[in-house]
């Protein structure tokens, strides 16, 4: 096994993409999983899986985002268990209103949160969300409806 510092012996293209998108992908994964630590695992797994097939990837950013979503889907069991356990209030951004709504977002079931993140944060249309989450399009609307209704109730 050989350990290399990023940038030293990686192809420049991969190093650049990693440096450029790692933060963004961790942000997306954090929103999807509700956990910064899990997000980091997800992103590392995505890059690990992507490197061997790097030469075949046309749009790296698009590919990596989709890979993050898919990887998070495979963590469903972990995530659900996580959600069932206590959550403490966390100051993440330093903005109380944002931190509070983030706390509520994290409490949503994983699929409901995923739909909102994909819709609102990534601005994906429902048919693409349905494809990513492997569910019918009406289910996407149902999940979004339920998520928003739940958040509305919690926020009021």
């Amino acid at each position: 096994m050989i350990r290399l510092d990023v940038g030293d012996e990686l192809p420049d293209e991969v190093s650049d993409i990693y440096a450029q998108h790692r933060g963004q992908l961790i942000g997306l994964a954090t929103l999807l999983t509700g956990s910064r630590a899990t997000a980091e695992e997800v992103v590392q797994d995505v890059f690990a899986a992507a490197i061997p097939r790097w030469g075949t990837i046309d749009n790296a950013e698009h590919y990596l985002k989709r890979s993050v979503v898919n990887r998070v889907r495979s963590l469903g069991r972990r995530e659900l268990r996580t959600r069932a356990l206590p959550r403490a209030r966390e100051a993440v951004t330093g903005e109380p209103q944002v931190d509070e709504s983030w706390r509520l977002l994290r409490r949503l079931p994983a699929r409901q949160r995923a739909v909102l993140v994909l819709r609102i944060h990534l601005d994906l249309p429902d048919h693409e969300i349905a494809e990513l989450l492997d569910c019918p399009e009406p289910t996407v609307r149902s999940l979004a409806f339920r998520a928003l209704a739940s958040l509305r109730k919690d926020l009021q």
Binding site: M1, R3, L4, D5, V6, L10, G23, I26, G27, A29, T30, L31, S35, R36, A37, E40, V43, Q44, D45, A48, I51, P52, S74, L75, G76, R77, R78, L80, R81, T82, A84, L85, P86, R87, A88, R89, E90, A91, V92, T93, Q97, E100, S101, W102, P109, R111, H121, P136, P138, R141, S142, A144, F145, L148, A149, L151, R152, K153, L155, Q156
Partner: protein, 356 residues
């Protein structure tokens, strides 16, 4: 939060702002217990590329979770991220010693393993599941033949007695052929078999567990001592945004195959973005009779419907069950305050589409 959101637009605007800020903050989130009682310590150290062999590579971001969070709930909230998942990369994809987590220790079965849990003796390995240096459970792994993996799961599950509730887990990836949770309110055992023959058992504290037990998982007593949150205000499902729900009459819209909850006084149509997504029946009854109403209605579903208990609701939800006939999904909820709710929506397994 002391604010009233008047419209979906306001709510979405808030969420958009929240997501943007969280996503921006995530890569540099830090843990500062001098000012707050619970933070992540996410000191992402240098990213390291691990190349295993000539053709295999993995990026490992060595993030050390320095010191356990002060709030023990944070410790308990992430336990399984150290456990292997049936859908995680298999060991021959990425060298586990490279990705590995220094907090996971491979040991033999110890005397601490709870005696009430049937021991899966046929497993090859057992690991103590750790989170931030705190033991949170046991994980048993075996790699068998794809042809008999489910049989191993069912055989093990049959060894649990009547004191355990057994619930199928339906939110797994398609590759997970068998997923079931067993719970005796003290321990929860997850049993998983995948199409590639992997066989996994995880033993952790039950979410229903309250009192810490001295002598088991001793390292983690503090993490276990915080019971799951109890909220007496949570309403299951869909308390509706009143502004976009239009009243309908029951016989005209509810699919014929769905047993009609005739005892309800009112029904509303659930809308999202001007698209009908289902029907909701809601009634506020007496607390003493709400569960009976749910069970009575639940009994009206015939064998063409699968019936699954929903276990992820708040403690105030005394009855929560999903009925599904692959076209429609009906959620039935009764709460301790007497609320009685039935929701009819398209099944995730089919193509039922509410009119609208």
């Amino acid at each position: 939060m002391n604010q009233t959101l008047k419209s979906d637009e306001e709510l979405i605007a808030l969420l958009e702002h929240t997501m943007r800020r969280v996503a921006q903050a995530a890569p540099t989130m830090r843990f500062d217990d001098a000012h707050h009682d619970n933070r992540w310590m996410a000191t992402a150290a240098a990213a390291v590329l691990v190349v295993a062999g000539a053709t295999r590579a993995a990026i490992v971001v060595s993030s050390r979770h320095d010191s356990a969070p002060v709030d023990t709930s944070a410790v308990a909230s992430e336990p399984t991220s150290q456990g292997s998942s049936p859908t995680s990369p298999t060991p021959d994809t990425v060298d586990p010693s490279a990705i590995g987590s220094p907090t996971v220790t491979v040991i033999g079965v110890t005397d601490d393993f709870p005696s009430v849990v049937p021991r899966p003796d046929t497993f090859d390995t057992m690991r103590i599941m750790n989170w931030d240096n705190l033991a949170v459970g046991w994980e048993f792994n075996a790699q068998g033949e794809p042809t008999n993996s489910v049989e191993r799961c069912t055989s093990y599950v049959s060894s649990f007695g009547d004191s355990w509730t057994s619930t199928a887990k339906t939110d797994e990836a398609p590759s997970v052929l068998y997923a079931r949770l067993l719970d005796d309110t003290e321990w929860q055992v997850g049993v998983y078999c995948t199409e590639d023959g992997a066989y996994l058992v995880q033993v952790m504290r039950s979410p229903n567990y309250v009192e810490p037990t001295v002598g088991t998982l001793a390292q983690n007593e503090s993490a276990e001592s915080d019971p799951s949150p109890t909220t007496d205000t949570v309403q299951p499902g869909l308390p509706a945004g009143a502004s976009n729900i239009a009243p309908e009459t029951i016989p005209d819209v509810v699919p014929a195959l769905v047993p009609k909850p005739d005892t309800f006084g009112s029904m509303t149509k659930m809308m999202f973005d001007d698209v009908a997504v289902g029907w909701e029946f809601l009634e506020q009854g007496e607390a003493t009779s709400s569960v009976e109403r749910c069970t009575q209605y639940g009994a009206s579903f015939d064998d063409s419907w699968t019936s699954t208990a929903k276990t992820d609701e708040a403690p105030s939800v005394l009855y929560a069950r999903l009925f599904d006939n692959n076209e429609w999904r009906v959620g039935v909820y009764c709460t301790e305050d007497g609320a009685y709710l039935v929701q009819v929506m398209a099944s995730p397994n089919g193509a039922g589409t509410p009119g609208g």
